[in-house]
Each structure stands twice: as C-alpha cells, then as structure tokens.
C-alpha cells in the first residue's frame, strides 16, 4: 500500500519537475546575455542552462535547481501548500500572485524539501527568481524558517540556494520582518551546531542578502552572479557615477572576502558532496544522519 503511494508521489513529482523545467522547443535559438551569440535552446538545456560558448549561467527555476543537486528519487517537498494571502489588501497583488503561481507551478518563491545528496540526508531550499523575482514574502520567510527549524530538530545539514530581488513590496513591513525571523532561526540553528551551506545565485540582493543568504558557514556562489544589498541603479543614483565593471559580481565578492568559493553549476553537486563529507562522521555530530 505504502509503496503504491510512494510510486504515485514519485510520478507526481516527476510531472512537477517536467512542468517547471522551461519548455524547450527543439529548434529555437536565443541570444545569450553573456556573449551575445545565438545559442540553441536544446543545447542550453543539455548544459544545465550554462552557455556552452561563454559559460554564462542562466537563472533556473527552483525545482530544476534542486533536481541538479539531489540524488534521483529522493526529493520530498515540504509545505508545498503554504502561500501568501495578500495581508495588506494591496491593489492588484492577488491577481499577480495567481498568474505567478500558474507560470511557475509553485505556490511561493521558494521550494523547500528533504532529500539526499551523495546519500547524505539534507534539508534543502531554492528560491525561484521567476516568482516575483524571488522576493521575500511572509510565506517565503515562513517556509525558509520552517526548513531551518526542521533541519535543527533532525540534525540535518541545511543548504539554501538564494536568488532574490529583495523585499516583496506588496507585503510591506511584514516582508521586512522576515529578515529578522529567518536570521534568528539561523542563529539558533548555528549555536546548536548546525551546518549551513549558502549558495548565492544570480541575482541575490536586498533583504535576502541582508539576512539568511549571508549567514552561511560556507558561502558559495555561481560564476558571474550579481550579489549585493543595494541594487546597482540605486548606488549609481547615490554616488552619481557609473559603477566599475564587475562590481557586485561573485568574483568581486570573493576578492573582498565575502565568499569561500565560486563554483560553476556543473560542479555544484560534487562540491556539496565533498563539503558534506568534510562535516561527516569524523567532523561533527551531523555525521550521524
């Protein structure tokens, strides 16, 4: 009985993953924002959405992102039904939420799950930049906080892939408060010995940068990702001049001491496996998992 249910769940998840993978018509081409060359969409999808010509890392959806790092068949989504309900009655917000849900197949801007990476059980989450730019809503903050608390309770390593434009304007101050909520949860998790690997992807800015994304024990980023607190446009307006080339890129952050490493998408899974192993049985109490 339970195996039938498990099979059915697997099928459903497979369908979901398919739906969330961008639909790829076979012969269409598009211009790469990295090198300006025409690249076949099929070619891109074969390369995990990294441009085969210049290495530009295209943003990807949350389900696809998790499918790249998790062991096959181990993805178990958490709190899929948790969503925002327009707390401030903001004009037009409900309709925009509905259309974002239809487009991305997720209820909020983050997908959280339990799964295994290289056999090791982990609590993992990925923000989805296609859903309101991965902006921080109360529901997004809640899903992230629940994931952190679950990881703490079950002594699991925590991995979060960030991608965010900042605060969810339509939820106002309640969006801001999620920064405190998620940071508090991480602090508690950390003080109890929890391992948190934070992976920053393009773009990670605003309130997400100034909260959970910046608090990793290990800080990783994808090549070329834009990472910052204030957006480049706001900074240009403040200082009244053009920003230097490469400002706020992952490479810039590495140089300024805010990252441990820049890891290309194709090497992320193996890097995570290595880091998890280094925190394994010989390392800390997370080895029991």
């Amino acid at each position: 009985m339970s195996s039938i249910l498990a099979q059915r769940r697997q099928k459903l998840l497979a369908m979901k993953a398919l739906r969330s993978t961008p639909h790829v018509p076979v012969y269409t081409r598009e211009t790469c924002p990295g090198c300006g060359q025409m690249v076949e969409r099929r070619e891109l999808s074969n390369h995990q959405y990294v441009c085969p010509l210049c290495g530009y890392h295209h943003p990807v959806g949350a389900y696809y992102r998790l499918s790249l790092v998790l062991d096959k068949g181990t993805f178990r989504e958490l709190d899929a039904a948790l969503a925002s309900n327009d707390p401030l009655n903001f004009p037009g917000y409900k309709a925009k939420l509905d259309s974002a849900r239809r487009r991305t197949g997720t209820g909020e801007g983050v997908v959280t799950a339990l799964g295994r990476i290289g056999g090791r059980k982990v609590a993992v989450g990925a923000l989805d930049s296609r859903f309101f730019m991965g902006s921080m809503s109360a529901a997004l903050g809640e899903k992230v906080t629940r994931l952190i608390e679950l990881a703490g309770k079950n002594r699991l390593p925590l991995i979060l892939f960030s991608a965010s434009g900042g605060a969810r304007m339509q939820e106002g101050i309640l969006s801001l408060m999620q920064m405190a909520k998620t940071s508090a949860a991480l602090e508690r998790f950390s003080r109890r010995g929890g391992l948190y690997l934070s992976v920053l992807t393009h773009p990670t800015t605003g309130g997400v940068t100034a909260s959970f994304a910046s608090l990793g024990d290990i800080m990783l980023a994808e090549p070329g990702a834009l990472i910052g607190f204030a957006g480049p446009r706001v900074i240009e307006q403040t200082i009244g001049e053009k920003l230097p080339e490469g400002f706020q890129s992952a490479e810039y952050l590495l140089e300024h001491g805010f990252l441990d490493a820049i890891v290309p998408r194709g090497e992320l899974r193996s890097t995570l496996i290595r880091l998890l192993a280094l925190h394994g049985k010989e390392g800390d109490r997370h080895g029991q998992g």
């Binding site: 309900n85 327009d86 997720t106 809503s137 607190f229 900074i235 200082i239």
Partner: protein, 274 residues
Amino acid sequence: MAKAELTPAQRLALARHPERPGTVEFIQNLFTDFFEQRGDRLCADDGSICGGIARFHGRSVTVLGHRKGRTLEEHVACRFGMPTPEGYRKAQRLMTQAEKFRRPVITFIDTPGAYPGLEAEARGQGEAIARCLALMSSLTVPVLCVVTGEGGSGGALALGVGNRVLMLENAVYSVLSPEGFASILWKDASRSAEACDVMKLTAADLLELGVIDGIIPEPEGGAHLAPQVLYRALDAALARELGELDKVRPAALAAARYQKFRKMGEQALRKERP
C-alpha cells in the same frame, strides 16, 4: 486626546522634520554619565551610529541609535543617518559587550536606510546587517527598541530586534522609503504620498499588524515643538518596559524575543493547493 488626525504623508513629514529630536538628544536628556564608544575595531568609526554606556534611572545600560547630525558638516559625516557596514559592526560590538556585562540594550531607530554606496557594498553591507539581526535575536539581556523618526528598511531593522519595540506617535517604519517604494512599483518616485497611504507605515498601522508593541504619544504638532514633553513620556515608557523585562530570566529573554519575531507575518499565510 482631541488631536486632528494626521495623514500618513503628514506624519512622514514630521518624522523627517529637521528639528525633530533624535538619538543624541535622547541620550542627553534621558540618560546620565554617557560614555561614547567609538569604532568597529576593524577599520573605522561610523558616526551615523552613536552609542555607548550610560546610566538610566541609576543603572548602567548600553544605548545606541542612528544619528542624522544637526549641522551641515554633521549631516555629511553621518550621511543623514545612513550607516555603512562599519556602523553596524560597531553596533554588534557594543551589543556583544552589553551582554558580557549584563547591561540592558536600548536602541533608537531613525534612518532612511543603510547607505547605498560603493564602499558600503565592497565591505559587506548585507553581511553586516544580517549579523546584527542574528546577534540581537540571541542576546540574553533585555533589548528595548524605539522607532523615533524614520524606520527605513533593513538599515532600521538591524537595530530593531527587541523584546519590546515601541514607536513615537508620528514615527514611520517601512520596508523601504515611500519614494523608493513608488519608484520600484510605479516607476515614479513623486507618487510617495500615494505610497504612504498603501504602505501601512504609521505607528497605529504597525501596532495593528503586531509589528510594534506600543505607541508613545507626542506633543501636538510633533515632538520638535515641545521636546521636554516627549522626553518625559519616553522616559516613563522606557522605565516601565525595562522594569517588566527585569523580571524575565536571561535565557527566557532570548526565547521570548525569538517567539515574538517567529510570529511576524503569520496573518499573511494561507494554506491551499498552489
């Protein structure tokens, strides 16, 4: 109180009034024996966050807050109250020390936001704010916060993770300045009055949303017209709240603060099939 009801935009103007008393005035008038602590012990001292040790009703406390400056030179030096990462790291240093010596922490919040500059980014503005939030959430001493003027964005919240968060009657507290909000949502910064109406940024709105715990009344026409009246009200409120928090054990203080912020935004959640 038979005061005429002010619009959110009018309150915003009062919150930004150039003569509105701020952190420096509160420290001078409510505290004694203030010793200013400067520097982040890493590279600089950011004047836009002012803090140190002082006496409040006879006991030692750590007090800190945003400083906008009074003169033109001060405005420039403090970037109108917009801190750099050095300011937030100084704040972390002061709060860590407060916990070490078992002093309560009192913060005054009054900033348009963290400084959006090139150097601020290069030195990790996001990381500095995130660490403030994490640290404040876990302190085992009483933490009391008052939004006194503009509470703008993460730059304000970085000093705002308290057991009690109070607001002056005409202060505002929001995810972003109304100008920034209008510019992001409607691509038009001049629609800030309209933004004020939908943002729910007044003290009364925030009390209703459960973001703050109490409102400190201001003299009619705003705090700057009768500062002494405000100081008395603020002093009484701080003394009362601190008296309450004194009764709570250290570990319970951190736990209660965690639970307080854990609930933030609960009303915004719904459960349904996506």
